[in-house]
């Protein structure tokens, strides 16, 4: 396989995408089923060529063909094979091709899934997806081509190698999961556009995208959590979330998508909120494209690094075109989108969903506002003002707490309206639980948002527990089942409902973890062998410091003995200072890296960083952070994933 074959494949894919759109347009005009078949196959052809191009690039990466600029930039002969493959999404052009690759997988699945179903929405779904593919094909063909050869006057004997920070299993799977999420929303978006064009007002199309939306949402969630996990374990500043534009870019579509997966339930069940759902999916998809653009174009004021890139204007044009076309379409179809049914009461499940939706969107707006604050401030005041984490935290903490409260309140409300009696019955236990926790926390001396957060967490947990126990009791009374059978049957007959509750529980865990951040402590100090220092109730003694050379780096390894205030042994920590490319004659190309070491318990993490070394005097420079409750965030993540899988698990009758 030659690299030229890759370029040819991408060009052919582009040609096929144009043909797909033309053929299906023609089919929509004259209704000849044969044209539809051809159009479908053309769309499969796009995917085929994209797959081919991706495999060729992966092959070139593995083969270390440095005649290709991309291969020379992101891999070297020493790069392990796994990371050679992961280099596929390490750079700009490769990651755009990878985006396209995932979109092609999704498109293929959609087409094959619906082949036998005679779904009248399919032609326009395929057209929409083909247009999105076309956009990315233009980029990878003509703007930033991954198969671009290395400049002829420049012979590369070995490539640059992948950044050591990215040579990490999490970092190898974080971008693909995030992309699976981003790209996944193309499918519901395609269905939404098609439903509008076809004037399909039935809740059926909503039902057919519910699963897709949840899958995309799941991947997006995993991607975000993995990103935080990676930042926490690798970057060494002790946190998992910094409100960086790139992080925000993934968080914004997550917020609107979360709103969407909630509100489509209402459209599916009650046929309400048609317009609202349309708006949500359009915004979510646009934000996904926008997110790709923020991550990959370097146009935003990301304070991290900058690549001169011509992608900016093209992406912005695409983003605006999507919005104009979609919202324009909504305007022309406003009569079809008008729901016949209205909300009846504030104390109904419907209105609970509505408010939760509003809060999600509001939070998304707040994040958007902060992310683009430099742009806005320049437009308004003429100075570029960037905002940091304290700003985002201040704005979002109250909004987040309201969301947490709604997580508990919503599920206890009945559809249509909740009677007073039922309200009192459903809320007494959770409210009392929350209050007890609040009082206990106040007694031990805690104040402020922390108390609210923990007691709301207790409140929500209580509501979830109530829902489960009531459901089980009702089944036991009716069918005379054992607790276990009742639980299993109840969940398996109402997967999305109870899976959703489990997800909520995961969110509560995560909030507990976030709240722990309020108690973080840190200290930086230097230690000679034998000396010790004290942080947050722990004593750190440097037992010894050793040096070693490994295949791709040189390392200083510290041996820290951690004891608590009573002098009891806790653990040994071995943070390292590494120099990658240490054999490179040019000292500027050598890259230092601090490999941190963490001791974790559910209560707190002890986080150690070996920030520097003075080998002449054998002094180690250590940074210690004691971060309470961080593990709850990751545990919450696992629960969230588990809950979503329960909700997604297919039923026999589907």
């Amino acid at each position: 396989m030659t690299p030229i074959a890759g370029s040819v494949a991408l060009n052919l894919a582009f040609g096929f995408s144009i043909l797909t759109v033309l053929t299906l347009f023609l089919y929509n005009k004259n209704g000849d089923e044969r044209l539809f078949l051809t159009g479908q196959r053309l769309a499969l052809g796009i995917s085929f060529f994209v797959f081919l191009a991706t495999f060729i690039l992966a092959y070139q990466l593995v083969q270390s063909n440095f005649d290709i600029d991309y291969v020379a930039r992101y891999t070297s002969l020493e790069t392990p094979v796994v990371y050679k493959i992961s280099a596929l999404w390490a750079g700009q052009s490769g990651s755009l091709l990878f985006w396209l690759f995932i979109l092609s997988i999704y498109t293929t699945i959609v087409i094959l899934q619906n082949q036998q179903k005679h779904n009248s929405l399919m032609p326009w779904v395929i057209i929409t997806l083909a247009i999105v593919q076309m956009f990315f094909l233009v980029l990878t063909n003509y703007v930033t081509n991954p198969f671009k050869p290395t400049d002829a006057d420049f012979i590369v004997s070995n490539g640059n190698g992948l950044n050591p920070l990215l040579q990490n299993v999490t970092m190898a799977i974080h971008p693909p999961t995030l992309y699976l999420g981003y790209v996944g929303f193309s499918v519901p978006f395609g269905f939404a556009i098609s439903a509008m064009i076809n004037r399909d007002t039935s809740p059926l199309w909503i039902q057919s995208i519910r699963r897709w939306s949840l899958v995309a949402w799941l991947f997006l969630s995993i991607g975000i959590i993995l990103g935080g996990w990676w930042a926490y374990r690798e970057l060494g500043w002790g946190g998992y979330w910094a409100w960086d534009p790139v992080e925000n870019a993934s968080f914004m579509p997550w917020l609107t998508a979360t709103a969407f997966v909630h509100s489509i339930i209402i459209q599916e069940k009650k046929d309400m909120l048609r317009v609202w759902n349309m708006v949500l999916i359009i915004i979510t998809f646009t934000l996904c494209i926008f997110g790709t653009f923020l991550t990959r174009s370097g146009v935003m004021s990301s304070v991290h690094s900058f690549t001169g890139s011509s992608l900016g204007p093209i992406f912005l044009t695409f983003v605006f075109s999507i919005m104009i076309v979609s919202f324009g379409m909504m305007y022309f179809r406003r009569n079809d989108l008008r729901s016949t049914k209205k909300m009846e009461s504030f104390t109904s499940r419907e209105s609970g969903f509505l408010f939760n939706n509003m809060i999600f969107v509001v939070m998304c707006f707040a994040v958007f506002w902060g992310t683009l604050f430099p742009v806005f401030s320049e437009a308004i005041r003429g100075t570029k003002i960037t905002v940091g984490p304290p700003f985002f935290n201040q704005i979002n903490i109250p909004i987040g707490l309201i969301l947490l409260a709604l997580t508990g309140i919503g599920p206890l409300l009945a559809w249509r309206k909740t009677g007073k009696k039922i309200l009192i019955r459903n809320f007494t236990f959770p409210i009392i639980t929350g209050l007890i926790v609040a009082i206990l926390l106040l007694i031990i001396g805690l104040r402020g948002a922390v108390v609210i957060s923990f007691s709301l967490g207790a409140f929500v947990t209580a509501t979830i527990t109530t829902e489960f126990t009531r459901g089980i009791q009702a089944r036991r009374k009716k069918f005379n089942e054992s607790i276990i059978t009742a639980l299993i049957k109840m969940v398996s007959k109402n997967r999305s409902r109870y899976g959703g509750y489990v997800v909520h529980l995961g969110i509560v865990f995560m909030f507990v973890g976030f709240t722990g951040h309020a108690f973080d402590q840190e200290k930086e100090f230097s230690l000679k062998v034998g000396e010790s220092n004290h942080v947050a109730g722990y004593n750190f003694k440097l037992i010894q410091m050793s040096e070693t050379e490994r295949p791709n780096h040189y390392a200083w390894i510290s041996d820290l003995r951690v004891t608590n205030d009573e002098g009891k042994f806790v653990t040994n920590l071995h943070p390292e200072k590494r120099i990658y490319f240490h054999r490179n004659p040019d000292p500027n190309r050598r890259q230092p890296h601090s490999e941190l070491d963490i001791y974790t318990t559910m209560n707190r993490d002890i986080y150690s960083i070996f920030s520097g070394v003075d080998s002449e005097n054998s002094v180690a420079f250590i940074k210690i952070m004691v971060n309470p409750l961080v593990q709850w965030v990751w545990l919450g993540g696992y629960i969230l994933v588990f809950g979503t899988i329960v909700a997604l698990w297919p039923r026999k009758d589907q």
């Binding site: 640059n160 991290h304 707006f365 320049e378 940091g388 201040q394």
Partner: protein
């Protein structure tokens, strides 16, 4: 009809409260480190700006001086074009901080010295290897 009006009222209420909240925080951030003005070294020196600012530039070759006593305190020269600025920083330095590195510092300018409390270097997600030492960095791109 009546309940519909109530909903619309409620929704408008929420939106108003939120807009008020966001603009309030934007105007009066609780934490002094919440915001920083992005300026060039030129603007900083000329206008003698003393509130919190953010600057971008390159670390001048050979200018990094690290304290012998605690290894944390460090002084270096930030270069932007021909302009130079002395920067003091007293916390753990990022791994990629070295001569010639592209950095962004945030802090306060006082008596000719910039006291930074944040120092950021090139981010991993955008690590674009440079084959021939080309400078893809361009200050005008920071914030456009």
């Amino acid at each position: 009809m009546n309940s519909n009006k109530k909903f619309i009222l409620m929704i408008t209420g929420i939106i108003t409260v939120v807009i008020f909240w966001i603009s309030w925080v934007s105007l009066n951030p609780a934490d002094e480190k919440a915001m920083a003005t992005f300026v060039s070294v030129d603007e900083l020196l000329e206008d003698n700006i003393t509130h919190r600012t953010k600057l971008g530039g390159l670390v001048k070759d050979g200018s990094i001086v690290i304290s012998e006593t605690n290894h944390l305190d460090c002084v270096f020269i930030l270069k932007e074009g021909d302009l130079e600025l002395e920067v003091k920083y007293g916390r753990t330095r990022p791994d990629l901080f070295k001569d010639g590195a592209e950095v962004i510092v945030t802090g306060l300018y006082e008596n000719g010295v910039f006291h930074a409390d944040e120092l950021q270097t090139k981010c991993a997600s955008r690590y674009e290897g440079d084959l021939r030492n080309e400078k893809s960095y361009n200050l005008s791109e920071i914030d456009s």
